[in-house]
């Protein structure tokens, strides 16, 4: 069994885009990555210093930590196909 996809979503409290990104990621994970992912949500409002680890500039940003290579997807994740491409997850593989 392959290692799970490890994702880190950086949000800024409850800004509309942060909320939208959380919602969209939940939907994508449920529909395309069932049982194959691990998500960590980091609120940079509470812990801004955590932005340094992945050099986060814009919020929300999703970082695919594993499998390498590390990829960043910037925005509210509303474009599902683009997110899937960046995560290198094909529909057929889900």
């Amino acid at each position: 069994m392959a290692d799970p996809i490890k994702l880190v979503l950086y949000v800024a409290g409850e800004t509309p885009k942060s909320l939208a990104a959380i919602r969209n990621l939940e939907k994508i994970c449920a529909e395309h990555l069932a049982g194959k992912y691990r998500v960590e949500v980091i609120d940079l409002k509470k812990s801004p210093q955590l932005a340094r680890e992945h050099g986060i500039v814009a919020i929300p940003t999703l970082v695919k930590e594993l499998p390498v290579p590390i990829r960043k997807i910037i925005g509210d994740l509303s474009d599902t196909p683009k997110v899937l491409v960046h995560l290198a997850v094909e529909e057929s593989s889900s």
């Binding site: 800024a12 800004t15 509309p16 409002k45 801004p48 986060i56 814009a58 929300p60 509303s78």
Partner: protein, 483 residues
Amino acid sequence: MTSAVSALSRAELEARLEEAEETLRAIREGEIDALVVRGADAEQVFTLEGGGQSYRTFMEAMDVGAAAFDHDGQLLYANQALCTLLDCPHGSLTAPALIALLDPVNQAAFQSLLAQAQQERQSAEIHLRVGNAERSMLLTGTPLEFGIVQGAAVTFTDISEREQAAAARESERLARAILASANEAVIVCDRAGHVTHLNGAAMRICAEAPVGKTFAEAIALGFPEASELMSSDDIVTMATAGLPVQGLEAAVRTPSAAITDVMISAAPLVVSGERTQGCVVTLVDLSQRKAAERHQSLLMGELDHRVKNTLTMVMAICARTAAHERTIEEFQKSFTGRIQALAATHTLLSNASWQNLQIRDVLAAELAPFASLSSGRILTEGLDIAVEAKMAVSLGLVFHELTTNAVKYGALSIPAGRISVRRIADGDEALTIEWREHDGPPVTPPQSSGFGQTLISRSLGSGGAKLEFSPAGVVCQISIPKS
């Protein structure tokens, strides 16, 4: 910095460039709403919501429930008032949780409101269930920009109480309409027995301004059938104590009342729960029925009286006729004729319900076997005068005797004979009618005074009749006293 960059591989540089371009694109297209800025000591996060915090602060200050939704209909924020209204912890409310409170019809209405509120101000009434209670809410949505995000702000106003108050008002209006529409008089009293409501029919039998007065003050009643031991207040006391009163007859003694007799029923007034709030008294108008009963009783008494009078008269006629007639056959003929005269007048009286009988009618009935008033032999004048029943009977007998005499010996004994019956005087106390025979055979006064003459002269009580056997024809002046 330059050395750090130069140390990177081409692939890494391309990845960084791509990330930088992606960041710029996301900023340009409004996909992000916060930035991390590295300060001298630490990173800081700046949000691009603009007035984002201020709208939340504003919403929290509102008394009514308020929520912000983005263009996808997702809940961005719900204030404390809304969470309280929907009975959920602050911060835990989500769009799906809100939707779950609605049935399919109200879900559709809510979704429609949310979609339209993105464009323009929109209101809708939504019904939802909070715990065990049905709540009605008026939702008003308006377009709102949350920084770079377009959305809608929706306020939730609980109108359940307003609706309940409106329903209560409608119910009160209905109750008043029912009260007003009732044909019977309806009076409502409170527990202390004071009148609180009454309808138009009740107003007509009550004293002036009855509201606030005790029932007995509002309407004066007498209870003849209860030997006057009962009072109006007893009825109210019984009904308020939970003992219904049904079908009690009473006389109305309120001076201004248009009706005289009523049938009273009273029942306890229970508005809610089991406690009696007072009583409802209904009064059905019995005036007409009572008047009819009294009239009937009067008629029975009158009938009894008249039957006795008639029997007495029949016995007197029988005795007097027997004294004046020589043979059984003569007796039978005279007696039968006189009884028939009585019967004719009775028939007239009966047909006219013993009222408004005219002298002309009595005359016509007695002459009927021999001549009609329209035959040309009988001339009448001024006889359209009403006489009371007793006088009609006497007058009938007098006309019978005159007619019988005229048929035997006078104007009606030959075809050419005529009779005129006219009113010749009309005084304050009596009026006088003259019976005059013309063109009959010459008249000779009788040898002796028969019963006919006696009856004629005696039967009119305080009036009387003067009989004159003039050779040209019998003349009789009949004086009829006015009652």
